[in-house]
């Protein structure tokens, strides 16, 4: 069935997967409409192939309101959009004439086991992606979920698996259960539109969170805590200057490591005495004028410190430095990729034996642009334990400067956002598990045995006289 000539005559897509091949008669294109019926469906993926100039505009909830306006504007690239049951989504395939093929498929709905990769989007309106640690494919999407650049997970204790993220749309901190039910919503407003570093504590079941510019403290950076129960801690530490790109504390919770004060270029990793609330000497100096500390410090469970560095120089791969507590370099891991925007670190399940590192391939015009590498590195010798490579979807669109291969990935994670390793499994959406322990009723003597009878009185011996010998 061809697409409808107008939105009013849009071809109705009844169920997924859906494929239609036809010919578009005009540059105004053709129309389809799909209305999900199940709340289990949170993301659908579209792809139009055929004429190289076809683009697909998406509208919702009516045919005149652009939905996530950039989606589908790049021809022949898969796109993914979050959806809500009962809401119509219109697809206008246009900008070319001739033969086309349109397919629309449902997003994956699989279990995300412990150890899966969490990547939420940096653009509001897009979902959280939970990725396979085996091949990087999306196991399931969680929608709605805040967009932002920072987050971390509680790794031990009663609240293992709870996740705190910064919602860049509201500038709130949001605490989620291990299965992503919203537990707490904490206003945490700063000045401007900064990134709010977040790092989980090792043993105290709390997060350290930072404001790069705190208007209530002279517009310098501050750090405080959020418990895994969702309450701000009692203390705020006021740092010397504005600017803050990463925070982490030692295992004892007595020393704060932080960077990005004033500038992220050639920034030292500084230390702060959390007990006496005073500055300590720097852990290490910056790597030089061409190196940035834009994201992520991690203190491993053995108290050693891992810091990510990105270069501003072309053809220079990002490096990860592994430091002892005295600032001496234990290891330097040179990753793959050129510069690699937004290098992130994540604590591994076997911390401190390994750590996870997320790097990106080279910027345009490199043909590998748009590819993520997730690498699990052995912290004792720097060897790669495992690595997965996966195409990114930025603002919902397959990311790359070339046309996708004939059978491209249909779903993927965002280019930029926080990254962590799940501490608890996330069931497939809509999955409820349970147990039954049934006990037969005993109240009201329903299991009593009711016997009735009578007792015969003893007879006098004289009654037997005639029978006596």
């Amino acid at each position: 069935m061809p697409g409808g000539a107008t939105a009013g005559t849009a071809t109705v897509i009844g169920s997924l997967p859906y494929t239609d091949s036809d010919t578009s008669p005009t540059y105004l294109g053709v129309w389809y409409v799909y209305t999900p019926t199940s709340s289990l469906l949170t993301v659908v993926g579209g792809l139009v192939t055929g004429g190289s100039a076809f683009v697909t505009l998406v509208y919702s909830p009516d045919s005149a309101t652009p939905y996530l306006p950039t989606v589908g504007r790049e021809s022949e690239k898969p796109f993914q959009i979050p959806v809500v049951a009962g809401t119509p989504y219109y697809f206008n395939i246009q900008n070319d004439v001739g033969a086309y093929t349109f397919s629309l498929i449902a997003g994956p709905n699989l279990v995300a086991p412990t150890g899966s990769i969490f990547v939420n989007d940096d653009h509001p309106g897009y979902p959280l992606a939970l990725l396979s640690v085996t091949d990087g494919s999306v196991l399931q999407f969680v929608y709605p979920f805040p967009a932002g650049e920072n987050g971390d997970v509680i790794a031990s204790g009663t609240h293992t698996g709870r996740v705190l993220v910064h919602d860049r749309a509201t500038h709130h901190l949001k605490l989620y259960s291990p299965t992503f039910d919203l537990l707490t919503d904490l206003p945490y407003t700063s000045t401007g539109n900064p990134k709010y570093p977040i790092r989980a504590d090792h043993t105290r079941s709390q997060f350290y969170v930072g404001k790069p510019v705190d208007p209530t403290h002279g517009s310098v950076a501050t750090v405080t805590t959020v418990t895994s129960a969702g309450a701000f801690g009692p203390q705020t530490w006021v740092l010397p200057a504005a600017g803050l790109t990463a925070v982490a504390t030692n295992v004892a919770g007595t020393i704060l490591y932080f960077t990005g004060q004033t500038s992220s270029t050639n920034a030292p990793v500084k230390r702060w005495d959390l007990v006496n609330d005073v500055a300590l000497s720097n852990l290490v100096a910056g790597l030089g004028a061409t190196w940035l500390t834009l994201f992520d410090i991690i203190v491993l469970a053995d108290d050693t410190i891992v810091v990510s560095y990105e270069s501003t120089t072309a053809a220079t791969a990002p490096v990860i430095k592994h430091y002892a507590t005295d600032g001496s370099v234990l290891h330097t891991w040179t990753m793959t990729g050129d510069r690699s925007t937004d290098v992130h670190l994540a604590s591994a399940l076997d911390d401190p034996a390994s750590v996870w590192i997320w790097t990106k391939m080279n910027p345009p015009p490199d043909l590998n642009f748009g590819t993520s590498h997730f690498t699990n590195v052995n912290t004792s010798d720097g060897t790669t334990i495992s690595s997965v490579e996966r195409r990114e979807f930025e603002t919902g669109i397959w990311l790359g400067i070339t046309a996708p291969p004939p059978d491209p990935e249909r779903f993927g994670h965002s280019f930029s956002c926080p990254f962590l390793i799940l501490r608890a499994p996330v069931p497939a959406p809509g999955t409820v598990t349970g147990t039954m322990a049934l006990t037969a009723p005993t109240s009201g003597d329903t299991s009593a045995l009711a016997l009735t009878g009578y007792v015969t009185p003893p007879r006098h011996p004289d009654a037997f006289c005639g029978r006596r010998p």
């Binding site: 199940s38 709340s39 409820v432 598990t433 039954m436 049934l438 037969a440």
Partner: protein, 132 residues
């Protein structure tokens, strides 16, 4: 005062009841639980219906029977909040009713929110005939 049962007698009773569930179902509903297991269902909505194996249970020991693996309902019938269940025979005759919740219930679920077309999985079932 109620009687007390021997372990053998309790197991016999448990086995008899559990046999009624061979190939039967755990029907999970929303709404108000009926007064008795013989009370007809009225406005309550069937949300999901996992299926017992056949035989449903292994032989009871000291009055306690443990079910064989229950088959998931991978296509829940409706969306709603689960509040109670009725266990029925393969022929849909009522056997027993029980409560559903996330704690302190006969059937404890990870969430009482059932989503249409979702999966409801019962991972273990025990039936106990008390000795006293």
């Amino acid at each position: 005062m109620a009687i007390t049962l021997s372990a053998t007698a309790a197991s016999t009773a448990a086995d008899a009841l559990c046999a009624l569930l061979n190939g039967g179902h755990v029907r999970i509903y929303d709404g108000t639980r009926p007064a008795t297991a013989d009370t007809a269902i009225t406005t309550q909505v069937l949300l999901a219906s996992p299926t017992f194996a056949n035989p449903a249970f292994a032989a009871a020991v000291s009055g306690v029977a443990t079910a064989h693996a229950v088959v998931d309902d991978t296509d829940a019938a409706a969306s709603g909040t689960a509040t109670w269940f009725r266990a029925v025979t393969s022929g849909a005759a009522s056997v027993c009713d029980g409560s559903v919740g996330t704690a302190d219930a006969d059937c404890i679920l990870s969430s009482t929110t059932i989503i249409q077309h979702g999966t409801v999985s019962i991972t273990s079932v025990t039936y106990t005939q008390p000795l006293a």
